[in-house]
């Protein structure tokens, strides 16, 4: 009996904790939406331009190089793997098409989002968590400055602007990687490769990719800010939250990617 009741108690506590977390998460989303969109309409001072600009520069600095590196490698690998299969059908010329379509529809958005989750999401969580632990957020609130417009809105908006930009960059660099492998490594004629590369692309490939990256940016921003602001305890709490933030973001990105791909496949064929 004792075991059963403590077991049920543990379940109850976990459920309780789960709902408490959901409540805190929706409170964060609510205040982001309020301060991001409604407050400016009501004439309140909301987005701090210099903080927003700082975030844009920070996100760019942090991830430009690594996004290029990873995208170029992925484009090159795609070209090689595609050629391996296509050669069997004598269809080597379609390598460029395969690279460009997979980069724009799928790999560009997902890879960029994962890189950003690891670089930027982690540092947002670590920064906000440290601020929480050192009472800096309490200090902000005590000065009568709500935390959401000051800390959350510039970071999420920064991601929403930068992630699609970086994704477009990733398209370009990925295609360049594929092109180099195709032309230099596989000896495909340059003009033919480029023709294959661009003729296969339709606008829908671009916008579905960018729509995905928009959603990913919200996922990364919300999770990173939420984890950072819910840090408890000291430095170990910050470390734990950072890991949690990255893991949760990446899993959510992949799941959301699946859902979106299905929607785009069935609903907008």
């Amino acid at each position: 009996m004792v075991h059963l009741s403590s077991f049920l108690g543990a379940i109850g506590k976990q459920t309780h904790e789960f709902f408490a977390q959901i409540a805190r998460l929706s409170e964060l989303i609510r205040s982001f939406l309020y301060w991001g969109f409604l407050a400016p309409i009501e004439g309140k001072k909301s987005l701090r331009r210099e903080l927003f600009a700082k975030q844009l520069v920070f996100i760019g600095n942090e991830s430009l190089f690594i996004v290029c590196l990873v995208s170029a490698s992925v484009g090159a690998v795609l070209a090689l793997q595609a050629a391996y299969q296509l050669r069997q059908f004598g269809a080597l010329l379609y390598t460029g098409s395969l690279v460009s379509v997979s980069m724009t529809r799928e790999l560009g958005p997902v890879i960029t989002a994962i890189v950003i989750a690891g670089r930027v999401g982690a540092s947002i969580t670590a920064e906000l968590g440290t601020m929480k632990v050192q009472e800096e957020i309490d200090a902000l609130i005590t000065m009568g400055i709500p935390a959401a417009p000051f800390l959350v809105v510039p970071r999420i908006f920064g991601l929403v602007v930068m992630l699609p930009c970086l994704t477009i960059l990733s398209y370009a660099v990925g295609m360049i990687g594929g092109y180099l492998v195709g032309v230099v490594g596989l000896h495909i004629n340059s003009d033919l490769y480029l023709h294959g590369n661009f003729s296969a692309l339709v606008p829908k490939d671009m916008w579905t990719g960018l729509a995905k990256s928009f959603v990913f940016s919200l996922i990364i921003g919300v999770i990173a800010c939420y984890e950072g602001l819910s840090v408890k305890g000291g430095a170990d709490g910050v470390g734990r939250a950072t890991t949690q933030s990255v893991v949760l973001s990446i899993i959510s990105i992949i799941v959301a990617d699946g859902i979106f791909t299905a929607i785009f496949y069935y609903v907008f064929p």
């Binding site: 000065m143 009568g144 408890k232």
Partner: protein, 281 residues
Amino acid sequence: MTDKGIMKPLPGTTRGVMSAIKIEGLHKYFGEREILKGINFQVSEGETLVVLGGSGCGKSTLLRSMIGLLTPEKGSIHILGQNMATATEDQRNDIRKKFGMLFQGAALFNSLTVGENVALPIKEHTRLHPDIIRIIVKVKLELVGLTGFESLRPYEISGGMRKRVALARAIALDPKIVFYDEPGAGLDPITANVIDRLIIDLSKKLKMTSVVVTHEMKSAFRIADRMIILHQGEIVACGTPQEIQNSEHPYVKRFINGEEGPVALETKDSYLKGILEEDDR
């Protein structure tokens, strides 16, 4: 309300002077643990009140309730006439513009320079020209005895200096009230003394009401106009430093003489319960 705390006369009301802070029947629970058990007191305008008490008696909880970071379950906290306990978040932000707070660890923003830290509340709450803000910042930093540090980062200056910068930030908007959480914590006695002198100077010069939470006896007697002693969530004594010195209350005598008492027994169950339910606030 049948709360007997309210029936008692409020301790230490100086007649004829407006009270800047008035707390009545304040109760705060964490889970099932009652941390503040019916607190009543007033602070008159211009007065320096020291809240003294041992570790874990609820000093920080009291302070955090006063600045609206915690919401008490019962009672009222009137700050300059407005009730912090029942105010909405917008109203709280309005009240907060009228006081400053010095946090225990200074709580300066590491991403901003010293000057930007002090400028932040001014920039947020006024529409002053940046040049004017720069001058105000310079003046405030001079008030706490710092010049020429504006462009340094908080991690590039010493702990005592950080406290002073935080003090300059707390008084940036010329608040009527300043709260201090353990102003001397983590500082050597000489630096702590400097901070105490600053608190005394500023409250005289700028005619500010001050509420200082501390467990440092020496510092408390140095700065207090009046003090209250908190023990297990209740006020056990209240009065001028002289009155406290002569108090016959056994706990107060033990506390100010630093005598050993029986080790207070905390039951683990209730303690753990309080901690585990921390998330549900």
